[in-house]
C-alpha cells in the first residue's frame, strides 16, 4: 500500500494496481463505461480521464486514462480538473450524438448538464457504444466467437463474416456484460438464440426446466475438468439437492 492524494484527500492504494480500480474502492465516483472487474482494462471510452502530477515533477502534469494507469507512490490525482472535465464532457457529447436514445448515455449526459448533443445526431442511432466489453469477456472465456470488426466509424461488434459464430457456445456473457443492453438474445425453456445461432438447452433431470446450453456444458466440463453430471440439474434443483444433502450430513 502506498499513499496517494486524490482531489486533495490522502488515500491508501495498492501500488501497481490500476488507478481507476483503487479510486472506486475508495468510493471516488468517476464515469467509466469500458471498465469491468472481470476483464483487463482497455482504455477505449476515455471517460475515466484524470490529471496526475507528482511533487518531483515540478508543476508538470498530464492527463491519463485512470483505468490503465498503474498506481505509484506520491501520485497527486485530480478527478475534477477543469481541463479533464471539459474533455470528458466533450466525449459524452460525442457519445450522445451516437446513442441519443440510450438511457445510460442520456442519463450520463444529464449529469454533465447536456440535454442535447452539440453535434450531428446519427441518422440511425445505435445502443452499441463500442466499449468492447462483450468481445473481451468472450476472449477471456476462451471462445473469441465475436470480435470488433472493421475500423474507424465502420467498426461494429460481429461474429465472423456476420454469420452464425461457430465458436459461440451461447453462454450469454456478452449480453450480460453489455452496459447498454445492446446485445439481444431470445430464450425459452428448451432453446436459446443469440448472434443468429440457436442452442439446445439441457433440461433439468429433476424438474425438466431448461438450464445451460449443451455446448456450454460440454465446453466448461472439458475446460474445468468437471464431471458432466454437474450440469444435470437446474440451479434451483441443485440448491435443493445440496441443502438436503447438508441436512443429511448434519444429522
Amino acid at each position: 500500500m502506498v499513499e496517494i492524494i486524490v482531489d486533495g484527500k490522502k488515500i491508501k492504494a495498492r501500488e501497481g494496481n490500476y488507478l481507476l480500480r483503487e479510486l472506486k474502492i475508495n468510493g471516488i465516483k468517476i464515469p467509466a463505461l469500458c471498465d469491468h472487474l472481470s476483464v483487463e482494462p482497455w482504455g477505449g471510452c476515455r471517460l475515466c480521464l484524470v490529471k496526475i502530477t507528482k511533487e518531483e515533477w515540478k508543476g508538470w502534469s498530464k492527463i491519463v486514462a485512470s483505468c490503465l494507469y498503474p498506481v505509484e507512490s506520491g501520485l497527486i490525482v485530480s478527478t475534477k480538473d477543469k481541463e479533464v472535465e471539459k474533455a470528458r464532457k466533450e466525449v459524452i457529447n460525442l457519445m450522445l450524438a451516437r446513442s441519443p436514445q440510450t438511457p445510460l448515455i442520456v442519463e450520463l449526459a444529464k449529469e454533465y448538464g447536456i440535454e442535447k448533443t452539440d453535434y450531428e445526431e446519427y441518422k440511425e442511432p445505435t445502443d452499441c457504444i463500442l466499449c468492447g466489453l462483450c468481445t473481451r469477456i468472450c476472449d477471456q472465456l476462451g471462445m473469441s466467437a465475436i470480435s470488433l470488426v472493421n475500423r474507424g466509424i465502420g467498426r461494429e461488434v460481429a461474429p465472423p463474416f456476420n454469420l452464425e459464430p461457430p465458436d459461440c457456445i451461447g453462454c450469454l456473457s456478452c449480453a450480460y456484460i453489455c452496459p447498454t443492453k445492446f446485445i439481444k438474445f431470445e430464450e425459452n425453456e428448451k432453446k436459446r438464440k443469440i448472434w443468429g445461432k440457436e442452442f439446445e438447452k439441457l433440461l433439468c433431470k429433476n424438474c425438466g426446466s431448461g438450464t445451460v446450453t449443451k455446448m456450454e456444458a460440454e465446453y466448461f466440463s472439458k475446460k474445468q475438468g468437471l464431471d458432466p453430471s454437474v450440469f444435470e440439474l437446474c440451479d434451483k434443483c441443485k440448491r435443493e439437492y445440496y441443502s438436503k444433502k447438508f441436512e443429511e450430513l448434519q444429522r
Binding site: 460525442l94 452539440d118 470488433l148 474507424g152
Partner: protein, 623 residues
C-alpha cells in the same frame, strides 16, 4: 560466399572488393520505384544486352548497376555514367543506343538528355552540380544510388558495416554514449532521443530483448523510408545490429508495409546474404554476439505505424494502439524490453558510430542534430527525395532545391508531417526546419513528407482531405478519435457545400482541443493538427466559405462557377481537357461553358494558356 569468422576477415574482404568494384567505369540506372514505373528496368535490360553484345569493343569493363532511388524522381528515369558523373534524365528506351555509342564508346555527352537549369536554360553535365543535389547533405541516404541494393559485396565495397566493425570493439555503454553525443532523435516524427530508448532497454533485466525497425511509412506523400529500404537495406541492418549490441538484444524485426514489395525483396536478400557472411546469426564475426532479423509485413493500416499498434501487429494481433504508461523499452513485444526505431534513425546509426557522435552533432540546430530526409512533393518543380541538415529553411528547400512552384504560381502553404502535421503559410517560409520550430508553428516533423501547395489549393479542402484520410484510418477503439473525426468531417462537408455557420468554427476548435487531450494514441491526439493549423493561418478562407459562400481558390465545386471571357482566342485547350464535355466552341472562336453540365472542376482554368477563364461565386444554389 564464405562465412566470415573475424573482423579481420571482413576488412580483408572489403579491401578485395574495393579493388574489384570501385573506380571502375559504371552505368547507374535508377531502379527505384519511381523510375521503375517509368520503364527503367527495360532501359537497364537494354544496356545489359548492348554491353554483352559488344564486350570486345568496350575499352574498360563497365558495370551496369541497377541502383536504388536517386531522389530526383521528377526527372526519371535517371541514368548516370560513372566516374564522370554524367547525369542523364528522362531517358527513354530509344536513347540507350545513343548513350552507348556516344558516351560509353567515345566519352561524348548526349546534350539533349542533360538536366537543364530552368532559370538560365543551361545544361548541367555533372550530377553533383545540379542545384537539387548540390544543396543536399546525405547521411542516412549516403549510399543510396551508388550501389546495387541486391549485392552485399557492392555494399561492403562502399563502406557498409564499417560502423559495425567499430561497434563490435566497443562496450554497450560506449555505443550509447556515442549516440548520446550525436543527439540523434527519432526520425519517425516524434523526435524522442534515441539514446534514451537504448539506455532504458539496456538497463532492463531480461533474457530476451527485441529491436524493431519501423518501416510502416504511411503518411500520404512520404517515401523516404521506402527509398532507404529499397536502395540501401544494409544501412538499416547495420543500425539494427549496432542497436542490438548496445541493448543486449538477440532478435530483431523489420516491420515493412506490404505496399512496399521491392523493399521486402531487397531486405530479404540483404538478410540472407548477411547470414551467409556471418554478419547476422550466431557469433557475429567471431565476436560472440548473436542477433538475427525477421521481416514482418504490415497489412496496410496507417495506425500500425504507431509503436504500440505496430508491436501488436508483429505479434499477429489486430493493430490497435494501447496506452503507453508502461514503455515498450520495459514491456514491448511479447512483454519483453523492446527498442523500436524508425528506418532513417537506424540508417544514421552506422555513420554516427563510424564518424563519431560529435561529427553528426556538428550538423543541425541546437536541439535537432544531424540531417533529415524529406519527400518533397506537390506543386513544386523538382519533386523527389532529399536529405538536408536540420535547420535548413523552408524557403531554401522549396525554392533552391525544389526549384520553386510549378508554372511559377504563387506559393500558398507547405504541409509537413503528414495527416498528423499541419500547414505552414508563406509568412513562415524562413522557418528553419527542426522538431521544435515545426511544432511551434502548429505542424510537426512527422516522417518527413512535405507537400507544397500553390494558390490554387483550398485550405478548407486540404483539411477535409486529411480528415477523410484519418477517418478511414482511425482504428475506432477510442471515442474521441472515432466519433470526433466523424463529427469534424460532418462539419467540413457542410462548410464546403456553403452550409457552414460561424459557430461551426468554435465547434471545430472545441472538439479539436478535446480530441488532443482525450484520445488514446497519437493518431487521435494529432488528428486535429491539419484542422487547427489551417484555421490558424487561413481563417479568412474559412470565413469566405461560411459567410460569402465562396471558395477563393476555386476548388470547392459547390461554391464556384467558371466562365470564359470574351477575349478567348478559341485555342480549344479547355474544350479538350474538360472531363464532362461541358465546353463548346469552334476552333479560333469564342468558347462557352455550358453551366448545366459543368462540374466546376477547374481543369479549364488551369489549362488556359492566356488566362481568360475566371471563376466566381455560384449564385444559384439549392437551399
Amino acid at each position: 560466399m564464405k562465412k566470415l569468422k573475424s573482423l579481420k576477415e571482413l576488412s580483408d574482404l572489403r579491401k578485395k572488393l574495393e579493388k574489384e568494384y570501385n573506380n571502375k567505369k559504371e552505368i547507374f540506372v535508377c531502379c527505384g520505384t519511381g523510375c521503375r514505373a517509368n520503364n527503367s528496368l527495360k532501359i537497364a535490360e537494354d544496356f545489359e544486352k548492348i554491353l554483352k553484345e559488344n564486350k570486345k569493343e568496350i575499352p574498360v569493363i563497365r558495370y551496369l548497376k541497377k541502383t536504388g532511388c536517386h531522389g530526383f524522381c521528377e526527372k526519371g528515369p535517371l541514368v548516370i555514367i560513372m566516374p564522370e558523373e554524367i547525369f542523364y534524365c528522362k531517358v527513354k528506351e530509344k536513347d540507350v543506343q545513343e548513350i552507348y555509342e556516344k558516351t560509353i564508346l567515345k566519352n561524348e555527352v548526349v546534350k539533349r538528355l542533360l538536366y537543364k537549369e530552368p532559370k538560365e536554360k543551361k545544361e548541367i553535365e555533372k550530377y553533383k552540380e545540379i542545384p537539387f543535389y548540390k544543396n543536399q547533405f546525405r547521411i542516412a541516404m549516403r549510399n543510396i544510388g551508388k550501389l546495387d541494393p541486391f549485392s552485399i559485396e557492392d555494399s561492403i565495397s562502399k563502406g557498409a558495416y564499417l560502423g559495425l566493425e567499430k561497434a563490435l570493439k566497443m562496450k554497450p555503454e560506449e555505443i550509447i554514449e556515442e549516440i548520446k553525443k550525436s543527439g540523434l532523435r527519432g526520425r519517425g516524427g516524434a523526435g524522442f532521443l534515441t539514446w534514451r530508448k537504448w539506455e532504458a532497454a539496456r538497463k532492463e533485466k531480461s533474457d530476451i530483448k527485441y529491436i524493431i525497425c519501423n518501416g510502416d511509412e504511411g503518411d500520404p506523400g512520404a517515401f523516404k523510408d521506402r527509398s532507404i529500404m529499397e536502395g540501401d537495406p544494409h544501412s538499416v541492418i547495420e543500425g539494427m545490429i549496432i542497436a542490438s549490441l548496445a541493448v543486449g538484444a538477440n532478435e530483431g524485426y523489420i516491420y515493412v508495409r506490404d505496399e512496399y514489395p521491392l523493399a521486402v525483396e531487397t531486405l530479404k536478400k540483404a538478410i540472407e546474404e548477411c547470414r551467409k557472411l556471418g554478419i547476422l546469426g550466431e557469433n557475429i564475426l567471431g565476436k560472440g554476439h548473436t542477433f538475427d532479423i525477421k521481416i514482418s509485413r504490415g497489412g496496410g493500416a496507417f495506425v500500425c505505424g504507431e509503436s504500440s499498434a505496430l508491436i501488436r501487429s508483429v505479434m499477429g494481433k489486430v493493430g490497435e494502439p494501447r496506452a503507453k504508461y508502461i514503455h515498450a523499452t520495459e514491456k514491448g513485444l511479447y512483454d519483453r524490453p523492446t527498442v523500436l526505431n524508425n528506418v532513417e534513425t537506424l540508417a544514421d546509426v552506422g555513420a554516427i558510430i563510424l564518424n563519431g557522435g560529435e561529427w553528426f552533432a556538428s550538423f543541425g540546430t541546437e536541439k535537432s542534430k544531424g540531417t533529415k530526409c524529406f519527400s518533397l512533393v506537390g506543386k513544386v518543380k523538382n519533386t523527389g527525395l532529399i536529405e538536408l541538415p536540420m535547420g535548413t529553411t523552408l524557403r531554401k528547400i522549396i525554392y533552391d532545391i525544389g526549384g520553386g512552384i510549378v508554372k511559377d504560381k504563387k506559393f500558398k502553404a507547405v504541409q509537413t508531417g503528414g495527416p498528423s502535421g499541419g500547414c505552414v503559410p508563406e509568412a513562415l517560409l524562413d522557418l528553419p526546419v527542426d522538431y521544435e520550430k515545426l511544432t511551434e508553428a502548429g505542424s510537426m516533423m512527422g516522417s518527413g513528407g512535405m507537400i507544397v501547395m500553390d494558390e490554387r489549393t483550398c485550405m478548407v479542402d486540404v483539411a477535409r482531405y486529411f480528415l477523410k484520410f484519418l477517418l478511414e484510418e482511425s482504428c475506432g477503439k477510442c471515442t474521441p478519435c472515432r466519433e470526433g473525426l466523424r463529427q469534424l468531417m460532418a462539419i467540413y462537408e457542410k462548410i464546403v457545400k456553403g452550409e457552414g455557420k460561424e459557430e461551426d468554427l468554435d465547434k471545430i476548435k472545441k472538439l479539436s482541443s478535446a480530441m488532443k487531450v482525450a484520445s488514446l494514441c497519437d493518431l487521435g491526439r494529432s488528428a486535429p493538427n491539419p484542422v487547427l493549423s489551417t484555421l490558424k493561418y487561413f481563417e479568412e478562407e474559412y470565413i469566405a466559405h461560411i459567410k460569402d459562400k465562396f471558395c477563393p481558390a476555386g476548388v470547392c465545386s459547390d461554391l464556384v462557377i467558371y466562365e470564359i471571357l470574351e477575349t478567348c482566342n478559341g485555342c480549344g485547350a479547355c474544350r479538350r481537357i474538360c472531363p464532362v464535355s461541358a465546353i463548346e466552341g469552334k476552333q479560333k472562336e469564342l468558347h462557352k461553358i455550358i453551366e448545366e453540365k459543368c462540374i466546376s472542376c477547374g481543369s479549364c482554368y488551369d489549362v488556359c494558356p492566356i488566362n481568360v477563364i475566371i471563376y466566381k461565386k455560384k449564385e444559384l444554389r439549392n437551399g
